[in-house]
């Protein structure tokens, strides 16, 4: 029972990381029709910015610096490289973003070295709390709470702001929104930056748990694609549902029969693609190329 509860909590933590990365990924696809294989780079950049800031000014400052830094990087990337690729054929998008991911990873390796880096000690946060018979690391619980809070803010952004409205409408009918005068360009850039910032913040927040190496971003990206597919490309709630599902599935399978843990999530992805390509909560028009 205790082992099961802990597995569920582990799955929650892992799932929330996937959600945070997948949300940015799925929104960007929905609005900009951009498949971004470089999204993991945002996680990694956020983690490294956070590392440097945390080493000098503490963890709190790191959580502010990381998303801002990544957002700036994302905006530059958008303006300089990615604009011509929006709405273009998927193959070119995958290829160029994959290339960018490679460049970012190697640049990080050049700057920070190839070895895994530890975040500075968490001081008082590196303890565990007792929840009944369960003992669980405090930081992981705080992390989970923090990501949930962040997701609520993103949801509010999507639902309550004009930008969010344009974005959501744009997912359904881009042309109409433009005809109606919505500044989809500006909204898109902001959405892109927000998605990137989320990934960057999670990168910084998760690294005290998982530590960071140049390849960590891409390593989290691939399962995030599973989440996006399962949840539905373009759907915010799909990303949330998918992320939690996949995270829990991975964690519980590890408990039940560890060798199958990684296979099962890709099996899920394959099944969804074959049986319901728009995902659990996606729109069925989205799949038409």
């Amino acid at each position: 029972m205790v082992a099961l509860s802990q597995a569920l909590l582990n799955g929650l933590v892992l799932g929330l990381i996937y959600v945070a990365i997948a949300v940015g990924l799925t929104i960007v696809f929905g609005t900009l029709r951009l498949v971004n294989f470089a999204h993991g780079a945002f996680y990694a950049i956020g983690a490294y910015i956070g590392l440097v800031v945390a080493q000098n000014w503490g963890l709190g400052a790191a959580f502010i610096a990381a998303p801002i830094g990544v957002a700036i990087f994302a905006i530059i990337l958008d303006r300089v490289l990615l604009r011509p690729f929006y709405g273009k054929d998927v193959t070119s998008q995958i290829l160029v973003t994959f290339g960018i991911a490679l460049i970012v990873e190697e640049t990080l390796r050049l700057i920070f070295g190839a070895t895994t880096q530890q975040y500075p000690a968490l001081q008082g946060l590196a303890t565990s709390v007792a929840i009944g018979p369960l003992v669980y690391p405090l930081y992981r619980l705080l992390f989970a709470a923090g990501v949930i809070a962040m997701l609520v803010l993103v949801w509010l952004f999507m639902e309550r702001t004009d930008y969010g409205l344009i974005v959501r409408a744009g997912v359904r009918d881009r042309t109409m929104v433009q005809l109606l005068g919505g500044n989809i360009r500006q909204a898109s850039t902001i959405v892109f930056a927000v998605g990137a910032a989320i990934a960057g913040l999670v990168g910084a927040a998760a690294s005290p748990i998982y530590s960071i190496a140049p390849g960590t971003g891409f390593a989290f990206l691939v399962p995030s694609f599973v989440v996006v597919v399962v949840g539905g490309l373009g759907s915010f709630w799909g990303a949330v549902l998918g992320g939690l599902l996949i995270g829990e599935l991975q964690s519980l399978t590890t408990l039940a029969f560890a060798p199958a843990a990684n296979v099962i999530i890709y099996l899920c992805m394959a099944l969804v693609l074959l049986l319901r390509p728009q995902g659990l909560l996606g729109e069925s028009e989205v799949i038409r190329q």
Binding site: L81, V90, T91, I94, L95, E106, P259, Y266, L267, A270
Partner: protein
């Protein structure tokens, strides 16, 4: 096929053979070595297979390593488990290629109904599943450590069993190395690559190839004419998988070892990089791309630690500035000039520009 076309085909074959014959020696002069040359030749076969799917059929597969590594593991296991006393190269390679083809048919049957990103992600999903299964089936695959010490396969020709590790007789060639650098492995691989290139050239010029191109360009119209797009794509996928599996088997047997990375996402990614850089939709492109990048990897990595960054920059630069790849861009320039020359010659001879 008319006479001049056949001549062009023969020219192509001879050109390829000559190039492959000279390659290891020129390679040696630029800091390469024969072992790497052999590996380049073998991996080029996989790149050609991948390119057939991407360039000619228009499908981006992000999981081709499942064929490459799968072929390698099957070949290795056939030798280790079934023929440890009499390792037979034919059987191992043919068995592996067959296995890759079957896998391609199975995956393809499911995948070719999807498009674009969904196709890519589905191939990724299958490849990852296979990766983790290979990693976990430790009794068969030895997990992360891979299968080392694969028995050296012998090539039975008639009454003889040839050890492909045999070197040619020594003959010093100055800066081009020594004739004895070349093992029979290189000759066998080069002949295989030559055969694959000739075959691929014929295939892309055949009616099958033309239908594929038509489907790639405009699927709706092709189906209206009556072509079953899914079936053609499946056939292309199978051929692509078979070639890649064939290459993977050769590589495993040449190396004498196969590891789980050969089924991994980086291997899939590298096939993409080689082909794009070299030139999609060209015949020589994948070969050139493979040679260039593998050479850079081997040579640069010994001198600078950030060679992969260079590789990434080259890749992105090619995508943005040379979308047809290196060979593709050169080919366009030449064919453009050739067209102009032809037009000029015609207008001179007939006295008009019609």
């Amino acid at each position: 096929m008319n006479v001049s076309q056949r001549g062009a085909g023969v020219r192509f074959a001879l050109f390829t053979l000559a190039g492959l014959a000279l390659f290891p020696f020129i390679f040696h002069a630029i800091d390469g070595y024969a072992g790497l040359a052999t590996q380049i030749v073998i991996v080029s076969i996989a790149s050609i297979g991948f390119n057939f799917l991407l360039g000619y059929t228009g499908l981006l597969s992000y999981g081709h390593a499942m064929f490459y590594g799968g072929g390698g593991y099957v070949a290795a296991l056939l030798l280790i488990r079934l023929m440890p006393q009499h390792p037979n190269l034919w059987l191992a390679v043919i068995g592996a290629t067959l296995a890759a083809t079957i896998l391609a048919l199975l995956v393809g049957a499911l995948a070719v109904r999807l498009y674009g990103i969904y196709f890519a992600l589905l191939t990724l999903a299958f490849a990852q599943m296979i990766y983790f299964v290979v990693e976990q089936a430790q009794d068969w695959t030895n997990g992360d450590d891979g299968l080392q010490s694969i028995p050296a396969a012998l090539l039975p020709i008639g009454p003889y069993s040839i050890d492909l590790g045999t070197a040619l007789p020594p003959l010093a060639l100055g800066p081009f190395g020594n004739l004895s650098d070349i093992k029979l492995w290189y000759i066998v691989s080069a002949l295989a690559l030559c055969g694959v290139m000739i075959g691929m050239r014929a295939l892309t010029r055949s009616q099958f190839g033309e239908v594929l191109t038509a489907i790639r360009e405009n699927e709706e119209r092709s189906s209206l004419i009556g072509f079953n797009a899914a079936a053609y794509r499946l056939a292309a996928f199978a051929i692509s998988g078979a070639l890649t599996g064939f290459a993977g088997a050769l590589r495993a047997l040449y190396d004498g070892s196969v590891a789980v990375e050969s089924v991994g996402i980086e291997r899939s990614g590298s096939l993409v990089i080689y082909t794009i850089v070299g030139g999609v939709q060209t015949l020589l492109g994948p070969v050139l791309g493979t040679g260039l990048i593998m050479y850079l990897e081997a040579v640069l990595s010994a001198h600078i630690s950030y060679w992969r960054l260079v590789e990434g920059v080259i890749f992105v630069a090619v995508i943005i500035f040379l979308p047809a790849g290196i060979v593709g861009t050169i080919a366009k320039r030449f064919s453009g000039r050739a067209k102009d020359r032809a037009l000029l010659a015609k207008s001179v001879s007939t006295g008009s520009s019609k």
